[in-house]
Amino acid sequence: MTEYAPIPDTPIYSQPNYAAAWLGQIGKANAEVLSKLEVAQSHELPIPIPPKTTLARLTELGARDPEIAWPVFEAFWSEITSAGRPSILLTVDGLSHMMKESAYRSPEFELIHCHDLAVIKLLVEHLSGSKKLPNGGAVFAATSKGNAPLSYATSLAITQQIERQAGKEITPRDPFTKIDERAYKSLQKAQVLKLKGLSKAEARGLMEYWAASGVLRSRVDEKTVAEKWAIAGHGVVGEIERNVLKMRI
């Protein structure tokens, strides 16, 4: 089972296991849509693709054999981005995991940058705007949960974009802090949606839902909502949940 393998004549490495696993997950999640679409292009693949093979079946073929998973993924990607196909949503949770060097090493024993791993490369090309989704679509990448700080490249790119969106002065780069240039560059075209706390009305709606579904037994009134909202750092939803739901019997 190969984790990564060089693609000849390129600086890129395929990720056979990851591609196989992802194809399987994509096939299952999108079974309804993909089972109604058939392979329309001809592909040079190590396995024969009979006529009328559905895209769902194509994902299965790649999922069960990591050795062919990456070429199959490329064929699948070509199919779903061809004319007349549905729009595509790309979601990434934990953006910072791909904005740095990987733990893999090249034959010359240098660390391979994440952006040179084939699956990540595809995602980054769409994040950076160098590739578009021909039938329209959206890319959403969330920064990680948890306490691990973002890399300087990621946090600076985000800060500057937020400032740009607000028409404020742009924070200059600190010349004395190490920065991953490739990561920084790849995030220059992204919009930023910064989440803060819920509004009091939203917090109230959430608490009323909890009360209606029985997980919250106490009264939901202006005073309780205001109190819980304030304790939760002004509506941080994770904090509201933590504080309020512990009020169950």
């Binding site: 089972m1 984790e3 990720q15 296991n17 990851y18 696993a21 992802w22 994509i26 849509v33 196909r85 549905p86 729009s87 595509i88 949503l89 790309l90 979601t91 990434v92 949770d93 934990g94 995991h97 990987s102 733990a103 994440c114 791993l117 699956v119 995602l123 769409h126 994040l127 705007g129 578009k132 989704l133 329209g136 679509g137 959206a138 890319v139 959403f140 990448a141 969330a142 920064t143 949960k145 948890g146 985000i158 995030l187 075209k189 992204a190 919009q191 930023v192 949606l193 910064k194 989440l195 803060k196 819920l198 509004s199 939203e202 709606g205 839902y209 750092g233 941080v236 994770g238 933590r242």
Partner: protein
């Protein structure tokens, strides 16, 4: 499920992208506990409702093996 202002914003971003055949790129940022992962989930729900094709990369190191638990749902 909580529908907050950002849920609607995301749905609008997606609808516009589909109608205009644009590719929008959005980073969802915020402090811990502000609901970032939930926003991704809501984007996925919106996509499935509109018969989009959804490719999701869950959190975790990107180098997984075939039986990684991140890919079971």
């Amino acid at each position: 499920m909580l529908v907050r202002a950002e849920t609607i914003e995301i749905a609008e971003i997606m609808k516009t992208a589909q109608d205009k055949k644009d590719t929008t790129v959005t980073i969802i940022d915020g402090e811990r506990g502000t609901g970032k992962s939930m926003m991704l989930l809501q984007a996925m729900t919106t996509a499935f409702l509109n018969n989009w094709i959804v490719l999701n990369v869950p959190e975790g190191r990107f180098h997984h093996t075939k039986d990684s638990k991140h890919f079971t749902n």
